[in-house]
Symmetry: C2
Subunit: 419 residues, 2 copies
C-alpha cells in the first residue's frame, strides 16, 4: 500500500471526475486528496480526502504529483507552492501556461520537477509529447489546427443546417458544448492559448501571447458559409503559427479561414480537433481526435501521470525532453505584415461601375484578383459581390477596403482569410 | 569530441542515407561506422568508416546505438550480437520484429537495452511511442489503418484514372513506389507485419503473425472500384486488429475493404498512411502522414535516437515504457469465425430467377441483405448483380457462395468485406 503513487487533484469538475474514474483502474496509483471550491456539491465520484484549501495538497508531503484541472489563473500560486515542494505537475490549464508558462517552467527546472500538459492542447489527441520525442528530429515550418471544438461545432451546424451563428450557439449551449458566457471559445481566446503553447514547443521559443492576432467566429454569416461552399471551401476557425520566409520571425494567429475542400483539415467536423505539422524531415503529419470531453481529457492527464510514474525514483531522463529549455522570446510579426489570400463579401447598389471601382482599387494597391463574382438579381437594387484575392499584404487589403468604403454605394460586409 | 553519441548504421540504402543526412544536423551525434553489402556502390552521402562486416559494428565498443535500416531477416544475428554487447537498437525492420520480436525483446530486457522502432510502422507518423506514453491510460478496442503506401497509391490511381490494377502497378513501379517484385506490398505482407507490431503494443500481447488472415489487392478490378464509388464507398487495403465481443480474443487481418466515404480514413490518398485507434478513455484518434520515403522514415529513426540519447547514462526510466513487458500470446480467431458485411460482385446469365436463387441462398444461411442491385443491359445475355450483406459470419457467406456457385449461370466474381 505504502508505495502507491500518490496523486493530489485540484478541481473536481467534469475533467477532475474523469481523472478520478480513470485512475481507479490503476491499482498502484492512489488519489490521496482533492481540493474543491464547494465541498457540499454533489459529485459523480467518491474520494478519500476532500478539502477546500488547495495549498494543503501543494504542501502535502505524501503527494508525488499534483494534477491541476481547475482552470483559470487563480491556481498559479498553488502550483508555485507545489513546485517548490518538489511535486511534479500535470495540468490541463491552457490559459495559465500561455500566460505564465515561462515563470512556471523556470521554477520547475530549478526544482528538478516536470510540468506535463498533454491535456492542455487538443484534449485527447497526443500532440505535446510526440512533438518532443518522436518528432524531435524535425525543424518545423508550421503548425496549424482546429483547436477549439465549440467553434468547430457551431460552424459545422451553420453549414449543415443553414442556420445563423446565434441559432447554432444556442444549440451548442444546450448540448453543453458552449458555456453561458461563450466569449472564451467564440472570440478565439481558447484557441489562442493553445496555439501559443504549440508554437512554444514547435519553434523552441517563448511566446508572448498578447502579440498573437485573434479574431473569433461571431461575424461569420450563414451566407458566408454557403457562398464559400459553392466556391469549394469550408469556413473553419484556424489557429496557426508559421515561420515567415524561413526567417526566425513567426506569424501566429487565430481567425476564421476559408479552407479548400480538398484539404483534409476541411473535413474535420463538430467538436473534433486536428493538428497539422509541417517540417523537415517528416514533411506533413496530422493528428485528429476529440478536443475536449471528460474521458478524452482524462486520457491525456492520466497518460502524463503514467509517464511521470515511469520516471520517479530514477535520475532524470526522457522527461527533460519535455521541459522548456529555451528562454528567448519569438519575434512575432504584426498582422499588417502578414500575407494572405482574402475573401471579401461586398454589398453594392446594383448600378454601373461598381465592379470597375473595386477592380481599380485593387490595382492601386497591387492586389491581384483570383475570382470575382457578382450575385445580383435582375432589377434588384442591391447586389452581392464576392472577391477572392491572390496573396497580398494585410495592410494593402485594408487600405483597399478603406478606399472602396468611401463610396456610399459599396459596403465590405466581411473579410475572411483563405488558407 | 569524445562525448559525442556514437551511432553505427547497418544498411546505407535510401533510408540509411536519409538517416546520415538528418544526423549531420546534430553536432553532438556522430555516425561512427556504417555496414553495407557492396562497398563500391556510389552513394549520396560520405561516412567516416564503411565496412562490409556488420558484426564489426555490433562489436564496436565505441558505438552506443546500432541503427538497422537494412531490412530482411539476415540481420537478426547481427542485432543479437549488438544487444549482447549492450547496444541500444533502433530499427525500421517490420518483418524482423513481426517474426522474431519476442526473442529480440526478451534479449534486450536481459541486457538492459531498448529496441525502438517508430519507423517500422507508418513511416514518419509518430504512433509507437504515443501509444506507449500519452495514450498509455487506454484500454483499446481496435487499431486499424492504411499501413501500406504502395497499395494505397495503386488503389487511388485505379479510382481516379479508372485504370486496371496492372496499369497502376506499372505506374507505381516507374515512380519507385513499388518494387520489381511487388509481392510484399500488393499481397499484404508488409501491412501484416505492421499490424502484428501494432496489435502487440495496443493489446499487450505477443502476436503469432502466421495466424493473421491476409489478402492482397490483386483481385480488385477497376469495375469493383467504380461500383463501390457509386454506392458511396472507396476500396482501401485495411489492416486491423480488434477485440472480439469484449473477450480477450483478437480478430486481426489485412484485406481490401469497402470504406464508407463519410469515414475520414476513406479520404487517405496515394502513399499516405493513417492509423485509427479506438479505446477508453480517449474514444477515437487518428494519425495521418507519410508512410514511407527517405526523410519521413529518417524522422522516426532519428526521433528514436534522440529519445535514447536523453536516457543514456541515467538509470532506466521512461523508455522501459517502450519495452515489451508481456509474454502471453494473443488468441487470434480464425477468419471463418469473424463477422462482416460483404460486397459480392456476381455475374449471371440474364434470365428469370437468378435474383431469387441468390435471395433464397442468403435466407438459407440467415444472411440479411442490405442492398441488391442488378446492373444489366436490356437484351444483353449477361448481368452484373451487386449484393451488400448485413453482418454475418465469414463461414456462412462462404457456404452461401459455394451454394449459388453450383448453378452454372451464376459466378461470384469478387467478395470484398465492408468496413
Amino acid at each position: 500500500m505504502e508505495n502507491k503513487l500518490k496523486i493530489g487533484i485540484i478541481g473536481l469538475g467534469t475533467v477532475g471526475c474523469g481523472v478520478v474514474k480513470v485512475l481507479s483502474r490503476f491499482d498502484d496509483i492512489e488519489v490521496a486528496a482533492v481540493a474543491v471550491k464547494n465541498i457540499n456539491k454533489k459529485r459523480e465520484v467518491e474520494v478519500k480526502k476532500i478539502t477546500t484549501d488547495p495549498y494543503e495538497i501543494a504542501k502535502d508531503s505524501s503527494v508525488d504529483i499534483v494534477v491541476e484541472v481547475a482552470g483559470g489563473l487563480a491556481v498559479k500560486d498553488v502550483l508555485i507552492e507545489a513546485i517548490k515542494n518538489k511535486k511534479h505537475i500535470v495540468t490541463a490549464n491552457k490559459e495559465l501556461l500561455a500566460k505564465h508558462g515561462a515563470e512556471l517552467f523556470d521554477l520547475a527546472k530549478e526544482n528538478n520537477v516536470v510540468i506535463m500538459y498533454e491535456a492542455a492542447v487538443a484534449g485527447g489527441i497526443p500532440i505535446i509529447l510526440p512533438i518532443k520525442t518522436s518528432l524531435k528530429a524535425n525543424e518545423f515550418n508550421s503548425v496549424a489546427g482546429i483547436l477549439n471544438g465549440t467553434t468547430n461545432y457551431i460552424l459545422t451546424k451553420m453549414e449543415e443546417d443553414n442556420l445563423s451563428y446565434d441559432e447554432c450557439l444556442l444549440k451548442a449551449q444546450k448540448l453543453g458544448y458552449a458555456e453561458t458566457d461563450p466569449t472564451g471559445d467564440v472570440e478565439g481566446y481558447d484557441a489562442m492559448y493553445k496555439i501559443a503553447i504549440l508554437a512554444n514547443i514547435v519553434f523552441n521559443k517563448r511566446i508572448d501571447y498578447t502579440k498573437i492576432y485573434r479574431e473569433g467566429i461571431t461575424k461569420i454569416s450563414a451566407g458566408d458559409i454557403q457562398i464559400a461552399n459553392e466556391l469549394g471551401y469550408k469556413i473553419k476557425l484556424i489557429a496557426q503559427a508559421k515561420k515567415v520566409d524561413n526567417s526566425d520571425n513567426l506569424d501566429i494567429r487565430v481567425h476564421p479561414m476559408l479552407v479548400d475542400k480538398n484539404r483534409s483539415i476541411s473535413e474535420i467536423k463538430n467538436a473534433t480537433n486536428a493538428v497539422l505539422l509541417s517540417g523537415f524531415p517528416v514533411d506533413k503529419v496530422m493528428f485528429v481526435g476529440p478536443g475536449a470531453g471528460q474521458f478524452p481529457t482524462a486520457s491525456s492527464v492520466v497518460g502524463d501521470i503514467l509517464s511521470i510514474k515511469a520516471e520517479l525514483h530514477t535520475n532524470s531522463c526522457v522527461l527533460p525532453m519535455t521541459m522548456c529549455n529555451h528562454s528567448k522570446y519569438a519575434n512575432i510579426i504584426d498582422i499588417d505584415d502578414t500575407k494572405n489570400s482574402y475573401y471579401l463579401r461586398i454589398s453594392a447598389n446594383n448600378e454601373p461601375g461598381v465592379i470597375g471601382k473595386i477592380g481599380l482599387a485593387c490595382g492601386e494597391f497591387k492586389i491581384n484578383l483570383s475570382c470575382i463574382i457578382q450575385k445580383g438579381v435582375i432589377d434588384n437594387p442591391n447586389a452581392t459581390i464576392i472577391v477572392i484575392t491572390e496573396n497580398c499584404y494585410e495592410r494593402d487589403i485594408n487600405s483597399m477596403i478603406e478606399k472602396i468604403s468611401k463610396d456610399n454605394h459599396i459596403r465590405v460586409e466581411n473579410k475572411i482569410r483563405v488558407m
